[in-house]
Amino acid sequence: MEKQNESNFYREYEVFSKKNEKSPIQHQFSLLAPNDDMALNMAQENFMRREKVLDVWVVPRNHIRSMNSEERLQWTNRLDNKDYRSTKGYGYLRKKWSEKEQGMLDEKEIMSWKEVKKS
């Protein structure tokens, strides 16, 4: 015999959304819904009434392997000797280049190189 138990109605979903084409998908909140389609509906109705939204993901929470409390503490506790991995460790170049009357090709400069001179 099959029994329909309403206490199974709610499943936990995590909701992610994307504001525009250039922005990454971002976690918003969680909600309860009986299935994927209703979760998507609820996400729009309940939480995206005003803001610009280009895409929405709903993911059953139990499909997400997130860090637990201990893992977060461990993984986010980075050693602070990783200068060699970042531009921070090469900051002295700014002074060197300026002695040679050259500007520093820093992140701001390099990220602005979208266009080059047309021939």
């Binding site: 015999m1 099959e2 329909q4 138990n5 199974n8 309860l32 009986p34 309940n46 009434r49 409390s69």
Partner: protein, 326 residues
């Protein structure tokens, strides 16, 4: 694994002294506590009580206003108040999720929250037990009731519990719309006909005690219980009930007077020396009665919630995944 089993914090103090010290260190350093982090039972229970009451109040709070959706004076006003009612339900959904994640170790869920509401164990805010008799009342809920809610919610924008703090940030942003929606209704009435000004003043007179009560008594001795010391200890909120009430009076009384309105208390004035508003205490026994579901509209609104819950039961049953039992 920490045993949540519903025991009081005191029972576990020895065993968890170290964890407790580490927890307080994090809270005091302004770190955010997440749902699966270790937390003292007192913290968990305080949050559950606060957030489930906040969440269910958003949902019950939609009821006094939704009564005015069919009676709104213009289409624009109808759209405005409908949007607001929908927002309140959205806020409720958001907050109940935060409460539910905290209640999970006790085996409780959405269903238990609804049952607790209907059997009277879960309280909702005093203001939502009151009638909305006129359109001015609908405006007053948006302007001053939401104004009071904004004061108490913004005070928790730095709350130590991450999920609540993030929900509040979202909610407070939408509250700005609610405040202006209320102001627009009030402004039109204040600048309207004699009759419109009359219902506006009448509305303020009716809501005044409820607005003072909204922040709770100054100390636990007034009503026998108050969570304010615990919530400030754990950095959930920053200020006391009275500080919040004073902030509300600071921000809103000058506006009330600027519209030519009065409050039904002749003793109200700002004491320059004490740097605070002087006012007559509302009847705190009445407050206790109201929040025990004996307010003017408590029963009707709970009944409405119950009807909705019962009428939709078949949907929950039909859509629940089927479990085979032998």
């Amino acid at each position: 694994m920490y045993n949540y089993g519903g025991t009081l914090a005191a029972d576990n103090v020895d065993e968890d002294k170290e964890k407790y010290a580490r927890f307080m260190e994090r809270v005091e350093a302004g770190e955010k506590i997440e749902a699966d982090d270790w937390m003292p039972d007192e913290y968990r229970q305080t949050l559950i009580k606060l957030i489930s009451m906040h969440g269910i109040s958003e949902i019950m709070g939609a009821l006094p206003e939704k009564e005015w959706v069919p009676k709104a004076p213009t289409v624009k006003r109808k759209l405005g108040i409908m949007a607001k009612v929908q927002d309140e339900m959205g806020h409720g959904q958001l907050l109940l999720r935060v409460a539910e994640d905290l209640m999970k170790p006790y085996g409780k869920n959405r269903e238990s929250l609804m049952e607790d509401l209907l059997n009277g164990d879960l309280k909702f805010h005093n203001v939502f037990h009151m009638p909305t008799r006129t359109w001015a009342d609908a405006g007053m809920v948006g302007w001053l009731v939401d104004g009071a809610a904004i004061i108490s919610q913004t005070n928790m924008l730095d709350a130590s519990y991450g999920p609540y703090q993030r929900a509040l940030k979202r909610i407070c942003q939408e509250e700005v719309f609610h405040a202006q929606h209320g102001e627009a209704i009030i402004m039109a009435l204040a600048e309207g006909t004699k009759e419109q000004r009359r219902i506006l003043q009448e509305s303020l007179n009716n809501w005044w005690p409820s607005l003072l009560m909204f922040f709770g008594p100054e100390s636990a001795s007034t009503t026998g219980s108050s969570k304010q010391e615990v919530t400030t200890k754990y950095r959930i909120r920053k200020s006391s009930n009275e500080e919040l009430r004073q902030a509300f009076l600071d921000k809103y009384l000058p506006r009330v007077f600027s519209l030519g309105l009065t409050v039904p208390d002749e003793t109200v004035h700002y004491d320059e020396e004490k740097q605070r508003w002087i006012y007559q205490q509302p009847d705190w026994n009445e407050f206790k009665q109201i929040i025990s579901n004996n307010g003017p509209r408590s029963k009707e609104r709970l009944r409405l919630r119950e009807i909705a819950y019962e009428n939709n039961r078949w949907v929950r049953q039909a859509l629940a995944p089927q479990v085979v039992v032998s």
